[in-house]
Symmetry: C2
Subunit: 457 residues, 2 copies
């Protein structure tokens, strides 16, 4: 019951150390493949093949599919041809295709040599499709029915062929590989008459995706309609595979992580954080850092341009960080909200006027509130408490008016750039905090010095 993986790992490591193999077998049988895989990730390299050989055949393949590529490679290198054949042919085709994509060439050669001819053909078919397309993530193991079968025939067919299918709960009705409809096992089981033809219980309005549809779209559809699986058809309307809900969950998590990484000014990585070394992290982080650093030349130029003014009113300098940070924060609130709404399909480009108007209203509220608070803060904290009498009432006014304008500019820039990026086909996620901050910095400094010049000099 419940979650016991951490304790289980300890138990298994101890049993392995004590060579209690029969006990281990009994324990492993009770465990979920995902938890067994977690134990394998913790294991010392030399123990990996040993524990693997204790697993029942089917669990072995399922746990294998859940392992990280490094461990998979380690295992395969230790496998005899017979062992490799058993594992590979027990895998679902989509997992086998993933494996082939991850392994180095010499390992791939061995895998394909041991795969059954049918398996090899299907792996190769999946590998033909471009990365992140529906074709590349689908499995070819689905139940297909003919429209003239009866409900009883259909159930018999499911019983006969179901064991190797990734899901049996949604079956697809095809004729000459053309997709005619879908029927669930629930519909079949609850059908009044066993002799009803499948064509009468099937749903003809079946939503399908093309082999080239982006995986993110596939996941979005699966989640929107709460389907267990979505059929994939080629450009001639012939059914070639299915994508199942569990893949959709993984894709949603993966794509969101990518979005979050982009929003923080990083190039997305497929590797998890703990498995990435410093060099890899560096390579994914330095491009944006460098680009944004260099673009700060503009803010530098603006400050240099007003150097003499700053020298005359040194108090102004002290507020630069506060103005810049508040601008950056205001802008990223707007941009991140819009980016998330875009990726959840809650927003489209045609909503831009609505969005800008909403942000202007919000900015006015935030701007007035912050400017007021800022004025009170300067008067009470900076002047009274810290005794900084350099800050005249006029300086305080300049800072507060700039604050209000900065918030306004930041919110407008923040909501507009991601939507514009989407419109022209760029990824909205890169228009997040770091990028917006750089732009808003420059604009807010211009406003600051503009207002300062008008009022103070």
């Amino acid at each position: 019951m419940a979650v016991h993986s951490v304790t289980m790992e300890k138990t298994i490591l101890a049993l392995l150390e004590e060579k209690k193999y029969q006990t281990l077998k009994d324990v492993l049988v009770t465990m979920e493949p995902a938890d067994i895989a977690a134990v394998f990730e913790e294991l010392k390299e030399e123990k990996v093949p040993l524990l693997f050989r204790l697993l029942p055949k089917e669990t072995a393949a399922e746990a294998f599919a859940e392992l990280e590529p490094e461990r998979q490679e380690l295992l395969i290198r230790g496998f005899s041809d017979t062992e490799l054949r058993e594992v590979v042919n027990e895998l679902y085709v989509d997992d086998a295709a993933d494996l082939v994509e991850e392994m180095p060439a010499n390992v791939v050669k061995r895998i394909l040599a041991q795969a059954d001819p049918q398996m090899r053909k299907e792996i190769n078919e999946i590998l033909r499709y471009p990365e992140n397309s529906a074709g590349s993530i689908m499995t070819t193991e689905y139940v297909s029915l003919r429209p003239d079968m009866t409900v009883a025939d259909a159930l018999t067919r499911i019983r006969r062929t179901g064991v190797n299918k990734e899901t049996i709960y949604t079956c697809y009705v095809t004729s000459g590989r053309k997709l005619l409809g879908a029927v669930s096992v629930k519909d079949l089981l609850l059908a009044e008459e066993d002799s009803t033809p499948v064509s009468e219980v099937m749903d003809e309005n079946v939503i399908s995706v093309n082999t080239l549809t982006d995986q993110e779209e596939v996941a979005r559809l699966l989640s929107k309609y709460n389907f267990l699986a979505l059929p994939v058809v080629d450009t001639d309307g012939r059914m070639v595979g299915i994508v199942t809900f569990d893949d959709a969950m993984d894709i949603i998590v993966e794509e969101t992580t990518e979005d979050i990484e982009k929003m923080a000014g990083m190039i997305p990585s497929e590797k998890s954080y703990l498995r990435s070394n410093a060099w890899e992290l560096f390579r994914h982080r330095i491009p944006w850092l460098a680009l944004l650093m260099v673009s700060a030349t503009f803010t530098g130029m603006i400050i240099t341009g007003f150097e003499s003014a700053l020298a005359a009113q040194v108090a102004l300098t002290a507020f630069i960080p506060m103005l810049m940070d508040t601008g950056g924060n205001s802008g990223s609130q707007a941009s991140v909200t819009v980016i998330r709404a875009l990726s959840l399909d809650e927003l489209e480009f045609r909503d831009l006027p609505v969005v800008i108007w909403k942000e202007i209203q919000t900015a006015v509220l935030c701007g007035v509130a912050l400017a007021t608070l800022c004025f009170v803060k300067i008067m009470l904290v900076d002047r009274l408490l810290l005794g900084n009498t350099d800050i005249s009432l006029l300086v305080a006014a300049v800072v507060c008016v700039t604050m209000a304008f900065t918030v306004l500019i930041a919110k407008i820039v923040g909501c507009t750039l991601p939507m514009a990026a989407k419109k022209v086909g760029f990824d909205p996620a890169v228009m997040a905090s770091p990028f917006i901050t750089t732009i808003v910095d420059a604009l807010s400094l211009l406003v600051y010095f503009g207002i300062a010049s008008a009022l103070l000099f």
Copy 2:
């Protein structure tokens, strides 16, 4: 086929305008509930009840469950008692409980009055559980089997009771409501003998959650194990409901949106962006903006403290934004990566030393690269191209050394704070860009002026 919702909306609005109700009925029958709900959201208020009455009974309930609360309330206010009764009793219990939670008191009274006694009892049971707990999101409509039933009995029971169950594909074996095991329809269909008792085909190692388990944990388990449903048991081990995979997908999306909002310094909102008005956006955004603005007092104090130094070396001011932004960006890269890894359960507190060491190495690489690039940029762009001869070699050195240290500090602070927050029970997501930036700003200015004081004055 494929995705046609936008065009469908236009067609339906046109047909409704032309009062072609029979055609509308024929069209609606072909559509998914989620797409029908999308049409309802676009509809003028007075047309909503009209279109709703054209839906087949079961589709009507499914589409109703997908609507936003505003539309649901509008419909209910227009329903006769009979209509309300039909819709409410056709809903899944978890959707009915959600509805009751969202509606104002007088509407809730009507809903409960029209619900069947069994439905009312189950709604009330679900509402007893705390928000975001497994109990509050579960449904009580699952198939339960007895261990002594044969496979044939079990299939008969599924056929008889399955129509109103949220899923029939995983059935739960109970005795006196104690959860003994789970059995899938696949196992039942593929069982060799119809007379085998259920207790022999069931999986006894069933993973379950408690009624009080957090919904995020429930979603994580469903996604980790690729289950269709997860049983929910009370503190006495009695089975009370199930949570299904489609709810898990929604929870994952919802919780990630919350994390992203927190990371951008916002208080998470349950309402979608387009449905939030400016006042609501303001209320969710102003607290962090105000707090961070006030905490910029420290950066202001640091600059004021070095005012005379800055007046003597005005060139130093121009680099403040670049140093601050690069520090902020470096820090948020680290913090956002760590926050995401924490929320995906890839990291634990005990990994802190590994994480810090990884970030130090990365920071050294990034710091050296940026400092070098910065030096080249100052020499070529600022001095040569822009002719800013105020910037001495020594000033350039101060800036570049500060740059390297700022990156180092930012990465260490960025990775440590979210993990520390998690350790002491705070939400790591608030330790993202805005918060890190404020801290790193102050630290980097201290380093800047410290190095400047040592080398220049």
